[in-house]
């Protein structure tokens, strides 16, 4: 599904944030991305969502090496990815409804079908009565739910979420994780960047941990049925490649 090969990234003339990251996520997996603030979680999500070009290395997605100049295939890959941005990135001149409908509009889905799907999802995230509001009239948590709804409306193959519970109260966070679990069961590959220890404990999944530009995979020891791994991911990606 996604694999990084010796991927490096630097902003301007600053030192590299990642120095040769290697990992492979197989289809249908569910990962948390953890690490201290400033470790590069958002940057990794940006690389995976093809919104940031790596300064070196290769990124392979859906079996295709990403070539940023091949705009046609970029477009088709992006349509398979849903992203929840840390800063929401809602379009403030559009209604909540239109913000959520955006990925469907791009795919030229019929209006009647859009209406039904969007209304249903907005009801589900508890914003059914805010449909015609503009994003700036909503609280941070509500805006976040809009951005989550937009990310999942088109049933992406890969869902990348950057601190999706950052502005949500525990009850809605719990509900959100249930939604993610549901999507995961339906076959969506999920990567969630989060600080939220409570969520990681209550919904256990393997963790990609970023620190000092090095990515390691961890599985929480509270689940003895899973083997503990602290080895660098490059080893794992090799085993996966050899399968």
């Amino acid at each position: 599904m996604i694999s990084f090969e010796e991927v490096g990234l630097r902003y301007g003339t600053q030192p590299e944030i990642f120095s040769g990251v290697n990992f492979t996520l197989s289809q249908g997996s569910f990962y948390y991305l953890s690490g201290p603030s400033g470790a590069g979680k958002t940057s990794l999500i940006k690389l995976s969502s093809l919104t940031q070009r790596p300064t070196r290395g290769f990124i392979r997605m859906f079996g295709q090496v990403i070539e940023h100049h091949d705009r046609k295939s970029l477009t088709s890959i992006r349509q398979k990815i849903g992203i929840v941005f840390q800063d929401f990135r809602l379009l403030n001149h559009l209604s909540v409804f239109e913000n959520v409908a955006l990925p469907l509009r791009i795919k030229n889905i019929a209006s009647s079908s859009i209406r039904q799907n969007v209304e249903e999802l907005l009801d589900w995230v508890g914003l059914g009565n805010r449909m015609h509001y503009q994003p700036l009239m909503l609280s941070g948590g509500e805006q976040q739910r809009v951005s989550i709804a937009r990310a999942i409306i088109a049933q992406p193959h890969l869902l990348l979420a950057d601190e999706p519970t950052g502005n949500l109260d525990p009850e809605i966070s719990e509900k959100l994780l249930k939604l993610f679990t549901q999507l995961h069961r339906m076959g969506t590959t999920i990567v969630i960047a989060t600080h939220n220890e409570h969520i990681i404990k209550t919904h256990p999944h393997p963790i990609l941990h970023l620190d000092n530009g090095i990515l390691t995979e961890r599985i929480l020891p509270t689940f003895p049925d899973l083997r503990l791994k602290t080895s660098p991911l490059s080893d794992i990606s090799d085993t996966i490649k050899n399968l």
């Binding site: 398979k80 559009l94 239109e98 791009i106 019929a110």
Partner: protein
């Protein structure tokens, strides 16, 4: 499905759109007026050519012997180049020269008025005309034929220069319009970078984004062009009626042929297409620079 409803990029900006529309209307109106003038000039020179090139004047001095005159008549009757000829009335000649000559002299019989003939010519080669002039001269040194060719060619040249100038101005205006539109479009792309980025990230193709710009530009440009055409029509109508002097041969914009009219009124469509092409090209170029 109404595509205007799903304008995702906020391109509409009522006050700026009005300025843009006014600019397009003004340019369109000027371009049409200039084109109409150019077409009018070419009409006019063609008309001169047609009406004057077939007329010549033959001047016979007062004391020419009758024998020469009858021979001249025979010559004119037999020449294939000459369709018809008429004597110009003595009183008419007097009228023409009256402002320059004293009344008493004018009325005296001694005034050496020449006999003037207007001749209408069949279209023939310049060589045939020279032949005719030559035989007239052989008949009598003093008989002169004036074919207006010199005067005509200089007037024609002048009209041609004006026409070229009009085309150049028209083209420059069109170019100015296209360049301003390109600059404006680029500004709009940069202003809406965030929305465009989001569309890209969400999997919108460049074509999808270009379409949003095209719909917007079409809306503004179409209205602007329509207003420009309306104003141009009004101006042309006004000129046609005010420049028509009584009982004279009329050359006005109203005399433009239907062929010329269709050239004139296809211009707005051509310019609209150029504007859309420019928008598409500019946006595509800008999008290529983005993620």
């Amino acid at each position: 499905m109404n595509p205007f409803l799903h304008q995702i990029i906020p391109l509409k900006d009522t006050s700026q759109d009005r300025i843009l529309m006014a600019m397009i209307a003004l340019m369109m109106c000027s371009i049409l007026m200039i084109m109409a003038s150019a077409l009018f000039l070419s009409n006019l020179s063609a008309h001169w050519h047609k009406s004057v090139s077939h007329i010549a004047t033959i001047e016979i001095p007062k004391n020419t012997p009758n024998k020469t005159i009858s021979e001249l008549k025979k010559l004119l009757n037999n020449s294939s180049l000459i369709k018809d000829f008429n004597l110009i009335n003595k009183d008419r000649i007097k009228d023409i020269i009256a402002p320059w000559i004293d009344q008493s002299v004018l009325n005296s019989e001694d005034l050496p008025l020449p006999t003037l003939l207007t001749v209408s010519l069949n279209s023939g080669s310049p060589i045939e005309r020279d032949k005719l002039k030559f035989s007239l001269k052989a008949l009598d040194e003093n008989i002169k034929m004036e074919t207006h060719e010199n005067w005509l060619s200089s007037a024609f040249e002048r009209a041609q220069t004006l026409k070229t100038l009009a085309w150049i101005i028209g083209l420059s205006l069109t170019l100015t319009l296209i360049i301003s539109l390109s600059i404006l479009t680029r500004t709009r792309v940069l202003l809406n970078k965030e929305a465009i980025n989001l569309l890209h990230i969400s999997g919108a193709s460049d074509a999808y984004i270009v379409k949003q710009f095209l719909i917007y530009i079409f809306g503004v440009a179409f209205k602007g062009i329509l207003i420009g055409c309306l104003f141009a029509s009004l101006l042309l109508l006004t000129f046609s009626s005010s420049t028509t002097p009584e009982n004279s041969e009329v050359f006005t914009f109203a005399t433009l042929s239907s062929g010329h009219m269709s050239i004139l009124w296809t211009m707005p469509f051509i310019i609209l297409v150029f504007m859309l092409l420019t928008t598409s090209k500019t946006v595509t170029n800008e999008l290529r620079k983005m993620v």
